[in-house]
């Protein structure tokens, strides 16, 4: 019963956050709703005994990604004048598709006859570390490379374009 209550405690805010973002027009508020959702999901991880994951969720997402997003918002919010809204037809269509998808997925989920497996016990970060360095070594290495590439790529892409005087001196080129 308690579990259900705690689940609802976290689940309701995630959904509310989503709906709020959908309806909201203020981009800064949307960012904060996102943070709320991320924290709630982190709470759910705790509820499921995935403590490490919950911590990571809050640290990386809320501390990193969400802040990054807020920075993005700040950086690009010089012109807020035009309200960027989809057309009415598009909205209706989107609503219909969303409802259909929701209905379909929920129905299909409802049809599943769940087989209860053993409940995994709460685990320690050490076990996660073993798992990552053991079974998931390949993906781990790939992920690290990906992160490196993403960092370099982001640095390259976000770099301001400065006209560079070529050594010959005559031609103006941009790199």
């Amino acid at each position: 019963m308690l579990e259900k209550a705690i689940f609802l405690l976290f689940a309701v805010p995630t959904v509310v956050a989503g709906v709020a973002i959908l309806l909201s027009k203020n981009i800064v508020r949307m960012a904060f709703w996102l943070i709320a959702m991320l924290i709630a999901v982190g709470g759910l991880y705790f509820l499921m005994g995935a403590y490490f994951l919950g911590v990571i969720q809050i640290m990386v997402y809320v501390g990193g990604v969400a802040v990054l997003l807020v920075f993005g918002v700040m950086l690009t919010s010089r012109q807020l004048a035009p309200k960027l809204r989809p057309g009415p037809m598009e909205t209706v269509w989107l609503a219909a598709v969303s409802m259909a998808l929701l209905l379909g997925l929920v129905l299909s989920v409802a049809q599943v006859r769940w087989v209860q497996g053993p409940i995994a016990s709460p685990n320690s970060p050490a076990e996660i570390g073993h798992s990552v360095m053991g079974d998931f070594l390949g993906p781990f290495e790939l992920a690290s490379v990906l992160l490196l590439v993403a960092m370099l790529g982001a640095a390259y892409l976000a770099r301001p374009k400065v006209p560079v005087q070529s050594p010959e001196g005559s031609k103006e080129t941009t790199i």
Binding site: W93, V97, A100, G104, Q111
Partner: protein
């Protein structure tokens, strides 16, 4: 006799040699020499044909000689290219070569100084070759080929002075109007070939005689009329005569040679050649066409003021006579008139050319007058020709016209419903005398109405008047002769009373068997009124014997009346300048009204019809060529392309390049898949 055809073939090929020489070397050969070359070859051809004709006449001859060589196979039918020589061929060939020789010589003088002098003789030579080929040809296909070739030469020669838009237009008109006739001619050949499997005249005749058309007499009639329409075009018969007056834009020797003496007579020759297969109905049709033509154009000739146009309408009228004669069965009379007419009409044209030449290009007879003083030889020869065409006794035209009238009278006598076929030519005989004398008087007598023209007029050089003299002699004497007494083709009486002269020579070639004659005697066709009527008419030549005297009397009276009227006008209007106005208030008012009507009809209705149909064709062409093809057919095609393009654009609507739209589509697809899965499970 074996050499006979080859002699004629040689004579035929001589102008071709001239043509080939001149076409490649014409400009090198230069002005006088190219003329002498062409004329020399033509005279040689004339000499050969005269020798041949002499031999033919005086040393006995078979009915006909044919030489042919395999030419091609049309499907499964072998087509030979051959020549056929009988008395008619001899007569025509000789006439063409002699008249052409005269005109070639004359042209050397007339075309003197023209920048395209060699070109002129190139075309003339080609024309002579084609015309002689037409005369010699033994098959319908051969006739058609040369028929087209003479049309081509006519095109070139009418348009010889192509810088003048009128000349270029007239040339085009002549060719296209002729093509209308030729198209039907071709259909006629197709009918004949389809039904008989033959194109040679003898082959066609024998097949028809053996019943190739048994049960299909209507088709035979149609074939005859189709073939006749070739002649309608070429011989300028109503309603396809509109090109001939315009064709006077060509140089005058061309008018004389092509549009008076030879080419326009080719239609008559054709009808004469295919005469045996013409059914009574077809003949009647032909006769009426001839009748309408001869009276209509004679009326118009009365009011024409251009010397060449008067002669042009007179030519149409005389050709109408010939056609009418053939239509009423007067085969000999029609072809006889063809020959005499060729001589005197060539003379008239050459005379008019001499006048135009002497008057420095002036063609309006209202500006002439008293030219007799200045050019006596032209005047005298012109008078001879006028007498001949008017039908003054002892001149050639008298005999031939008399023969025609006799045939027509004979026909009308037996078929009273067709009395018009005699009345029309009789009336026209008077009109002919009138307008010709009017022409002569206005040109050579009365007063000099234009001092300038009169003062500068001069007699033509000898090169031009010698041919006039030769033709004048022919115009008088060519008609002398007597018909053989026996019936045509009746060998039993052949020994009876032999005729002599041109007419008898022509009579020898008269076809012995004709469909129309056959239809009457065998009654294979339902003995309709027309059929039986015209069947007897095919023997009108025989019947005509009895009608010669009354016809002569009528013709002479008509002629005298015409002459008297012309003289009256001349007397009344002597020294008067405004003769045309006085004309109208005097006795000829009615005739003139009629003539004016005729001219109006000719110019407005018929020409309008021709022009109108041309305009209609042009409009159709512009519609189909520009609107229909570009908007319709091409538009349809482009429409398909445009539809495809529109479809593409429609598809492109989805392809916005916007990530969100793609995602929406993706979500839609996902939703559909999920629902489908749920549905199915």
């Amino acid at each position: 006799m074996d050499m006979m055809p080859y002699a004629f073939i040689t004579a035929w090929l001589l102008p071709l040699a001239g043509f080939v020489l001149l076409v490649f070397r014409g400009r090198k050969i230069g002005e006088p020499r190219s003329g002498y070359l062409a004329a020399g070859l033509m005279i040689t051809a004339a000499a050969i044909s005269l020798v041949g004709a002499t031999r033919w006449v005086f040393f006995g001859h078979p009915a006909s000689v044919e030489v042919s060589t395999a030419w091609l196979r049309l499907g499964t039918q072998a087509i030979h290219f051959g020549v056929r020589i009988d008395s008619l061929t001899i007569v025509m060939f000789t006439m063409v070569t002699v008249v052409a020789s005269c005109i070639f010589i004359y042209s050397i003088g007339y075309m003197h100084g023209d920048p395209r002098f060699p070109r002129f003789f190139t075309y003339l030579s080609l024309f002579a070759f084609s015309m002689l080929g037409l005369v010699l040809s033994d098959s319908l296909l051969g006739l058609f080929i040369f028929w087209e070739l003479v049309g081509l030469c006519s095109y070139f020669l009418i348009g010889f002075w192509y810088e003048k838009p009128a000349a270029a237009n007239a040339a085009k008109k002549a060719f296209i109007v002729n093509r209308v006739g030729d198209c039907l001619f071709l259909v006629g050949i197709a009918i004949m070939l389809g039904a008989t499997g033959a194109v040679t005249l003898t082959g066609v005749f024998s097949e028809v005689r053996q019943g190739a058309f048994a049960g299909h007499e209507t088709l035979l009639t149609l074939a005859g009329i189709c073939l006749f329409f070739g002649a309608v075009g070429k011989s300028a018969q109503f309603p396809l005569h509109v090109w001939l007056p315009d064709a006077m834009e060509g140089p005058t020797p061309v008018s004389a040679l092509i549009h008076a003496a030879t080419m326009v007579a080719a239609g008559v020759y054709l009808v004469g050649r295919v005469f045996p297969i013409l059914t009574p109905t077809a003949l009647l049709f032909i006769a009426y066409i001839g009748g309408i033509t001869l009276i209509g154009s004679a009326l118009i000739a009365v009011v024409m003021t251009d010397i060449k146009r008067v002669l042009a309408y007179s030519t149409i009228s005389q050709l109408g006579y010939m056609i009418l004669a053939l239509g009423v069965g007067g085969w000999v009379a029609g072809l006889f008139h063809l020959i005499t007419h060729a001589c005197f009409k060539a003379l008239l044209f050459l005379g008019s050319g001499s006048v135009i030449h002497g008057c420095h290009g002036e063609q309006d007879i209202r500006k002439m007058g008293r030219l007799h003083d200045k050019m006596p030889i032209t005047s005298w020869t012109f008078l001879v020709a006028t007498a001949a065409i008017a039908g003054v006794p002892f001149f050639s035209g008298f005999y031939s016209k008399d023969a025609i009238l006799a045939s027509a009278l004979g026909f009308s006598w037996t078929h009273r419903t067709h009395g018009l076929l005699f009345i029309l030519p009789a009336l026209a005989a008077g009109l002919t005398a009138f307008y010709m004398l009017r022409l002569y008087l206005l040109t050579f007598r009365t007063t000099a109405r234009d001092e300038h023209v009169y003062a500068h007029a001069h007699e033509s050089p000898r090169l031009m008047w010698v041919p006039l003299a030769v033709l004048a002699v022919l115009s008088i004497g060519i008609g002398w002769g007597r018909m053989p007494e026996h019936q045509a083709g009746d060998e039993a009486h052949a020994a009876g009373s032999r005729g002599w002269g041109l007419v008898s020579l022509i009579a020898e070639a008269q076809p012995a068997w004709t469909v129309s004659g056959d239809a009457g005697t065998h009654g294979s066709e339902a003995a309709s009124h027309v059929a039986s009527a015209a069947s007897e008419a095919s023997h009108a030549a025989d019947a005509a014997h009895g009608f010669h005297l009354p016809a002569t009397i009528v013709a002479t009276c008509a002629m005298l009346l015409g002459v008297f009227m012309a003289w009256l006008v001349y007397k009344l209007l002597l020294n008067k300048f405004y003769f045309d106005e006085l004309y109208r208030v005097t006795f000829v008012a009615g005739v003139l009204k009629l003539a004016a009507f005729g001219q109006w009809f000719d110019r407005v209705i018929l020409d309008g019809l021709a022009d109108g149909s041309a305009r209609w064709v042009a409009r159709t062409a512009f519609f189909s060529g520009l609107t229909l093809d570009n908007r319709g057919v091409d538009g349809l095609v482009n429409g398909v392309a445009r539809t495809a393009l529109a479809g593409g654009n429609l598809a492109r609507l989805g392809q916005t390049g916007r990530v969100r739209n793609y995602l929406l589509a993706l979500a839609t697809g996902g939703a559909l898949v999920v629902i489908l899965l749920v549905w199915m499970s």
